[in-house]
Amino acid sequence: MYDLLNVKGLKTAFKNNNQRVSVVNGVDFGINKGEIVGIVGESGCGKSVTSLSIMRLLHDTTGDIQDGKVTFKGENLLDLSERSMRKIRGKEIAMIFQEPMTSLNPVMKIGKQLMQGIILHLKYSKEKAKKHAIDTLKSVGIPRAEDIMNEYPHQLSGGMRQRVMIAIAMSCEPELLIADEPTTALDVTIQAQILELMKRLQSDRGTAILMITHDLGVVAEVCDRVIVMYAGRVVEEASVDELFESPRHPYTKDLIESVPKIGERKSRLYSIPGHVPNPNQMPNGCKFAPRCQHAMEICFNKEPELTSEEKRKHRCWLYQQNNVGREQNLGSK
């Protein structure tokens, strides 16, 4: 049990051409107070949907949470009324998104967007909210905060907008910040600035962060613990050091392997054959089996469970207790 957020058996499906397709299928994980947890995976693995499901933000989509439990500070969010859920959103759990260009209302002044949440959740008067908003803007490193209050998003650069997004998210001092690919759309030099800012906020305020990203580099730099997802499932969970040092799941291994790394020039990159399965046509058994180098017969027939091993978890037949050939199999690579 984790002391801030526990997700158990989360299952979310989308309706497409009258078919229900599970995009997130039985996801379990948790976050402790003040911790930075990363969810990493390739596009379509369900990492964003997981975060939206936690926030119950599947409005305006065909998505629907089908099963599971999301316990936040002892309360199951999935049981709350919409009205109570609104009190959680933005106040207890805040969220920032990938596209700083489109995630702010283009026709509303920054100040108003910022103050809206403050007035709503903290019940501040207008003046107090304004002061608080300016303070928050300053705390995320925005120069000329007073002027920016009266500007529109399009007048700011991408990095600035992402800072504003963070300011909006942090303005009500949430306990958990979900960051969905917060730096993907930014240039490297700006990405470095934003990551630095997030780390600082976390250490200053003790806010827990759920960092959703596809970039192993970002994970390695900021996260304490990492969850690897593939095809709507958690395939591995470990502390960041353990994960990069001794990845257990073949997918994690391959993923780390296939990233080109500066200073390690090779004539050929390692690459995973095949492609991510279509959610309509999921293979039986382990979803990674068709691309896996170590696949055994059982992998194609039966899906492995997420099993714990000391402080880490993985979902692979290679490590299931009744499997004898595990060392041998890995060693053969």
Partner: protein, 321 residues
């Protein structure tokens, strides 16, 4: 210059006028400002830089998709500058492009065989239908797409497969130079590796020359022989790939390298944090365009624009040297 140069670009310049009318600002975005470099046969020359630095514009200028305002493009010893649209169409045959977004760069209403057949129809109308069909099949095979896909539409493929089709389309005319504009940045890591490997293989088999445009330094390092770093329309450094990563000269190159997150939690580095953001290209700083963010900025940097000069086998545009 050396006769081995496949492509030579001299002082090329492109200013985009800011839209008139409703918008208040007027003037020009200096997308590419006096850029010169040359590419030798068989090498991979990379352009790296952050968004808005003009690297993609430069790629399009070389292909003639955009007309340059000034400067010369010399390809295979022939000066292409000032040619009309009709002439450009024939110049493009030995100089093909691969685009960033594999979802958008293939016509959604054509079958794969028609997409691949189109370049042949345009440039080799003399070939028979059968010959063309065989050529299409051959090239697909080379690029790792099974022939039974010929009758499918682009949207029926995954991103990696589409990028392979895009490569096949570029390759079918047997070009000498391929301009690859961020060919892997829209792909997932596992697919990215497949495509990069394919590009390398093709280069070896067909003696291709690449102009590789990317923002991702780790990808660039993997594939390049020579790297040019761009900042706000200028090249600030040109170096052989090994050198640029082991001993970057320009402060911007240094900062860029240090900003790349490394997928290894054990590696802890001294980070060079750049101040602020890239200035507006419509109104860049005077002198060295990087001086506003440069940790080593001197007084001269604010007034005099540095020129590229040779420093220890690397070309650097910086007053530090």
């Amino acid at each position: 210059m050396a006769a081995n140069n496949l492509l030579e670009v001299k002082n090329i310049k492109k200013y985009f006028p800011l839209s008139k009318g409703w918008f208040s600002a007027k003037g020009h975005v200096k997308a590419v400002d006096q850029v010169s470099f040359s590419i030798q046969r068989g090498e991979t020359f990379s352009l790296v830089g952050e968004s808005g630095c003009g690297k993609s514009t430069l790629g399009r200028l070389i292909n003639g998709l955009i007309k340059s305002d000034d400067g010369e493009i010399i390809f295979k010893g022939k000066n292409l500058t000032g040619a009309n649209e009709k002439a450009w169409r024939s110049y493009r045959k030995p100089m093909q492009m691969i685009f960033q977004d594999p979802y958008a760069s293939l016509s959604p209403r054509m079958k794969i065989k028609d997409i691949l057949d189109e370049p042949l129809k345009i440039h080799h109308p003399e070939l028979s239908k059968e010959t063309r069909k065989t050529m299409v099949q051959e090239i697909l095979d080379v690029c790792g797409i099974d022939a039974y896909h010929l009758d499918k539409y682009a949207h029926e493929f995954s991103g990696g497969q589409r990028q392979r089709i895009g490569i096949a389309r570029a390759l079918i005319l047997k070009p000498e130079l391929i301009i690859a504009d961020e060919p892997v940045s829209a792909l997932d890591v596992s697919i990215q590796a497949q495509v990069l490997n394919l590009l390398k293989e093709l280069q070896e088999n067909y003696q291709l020359t690449y102009l590789f445009i990317s923002h991702d330094l780790s990808v660039v390092e993997h594939i390049s022989d020579k790297i040019a770093v761009m900042y706000l329309g200028n090249i600030v450094e040109i170096s052989p790939a090994e050198d640029i990563f082991s001993r970057p000269k320009h402060p911007y190159t240094q900062a860029l390298l240090s900003a790349v997150p490394i997928p290894n939690p054990k590696v802890k580095r001294e980070r060079i944090m750049l101040k602020g953001e890239i200035p507006n290209a419509a109104n860049p700083p005077k002198g060295c365009k990087f001086h506003s963010r440069c940790p080593h900025a001197m007084d001269i940097c604010k007034t005099v624009e540095p020129q590229l000069k040779k420093v220890e086998g690397q070309m650097v545009a910086c007053h530090l040297y």
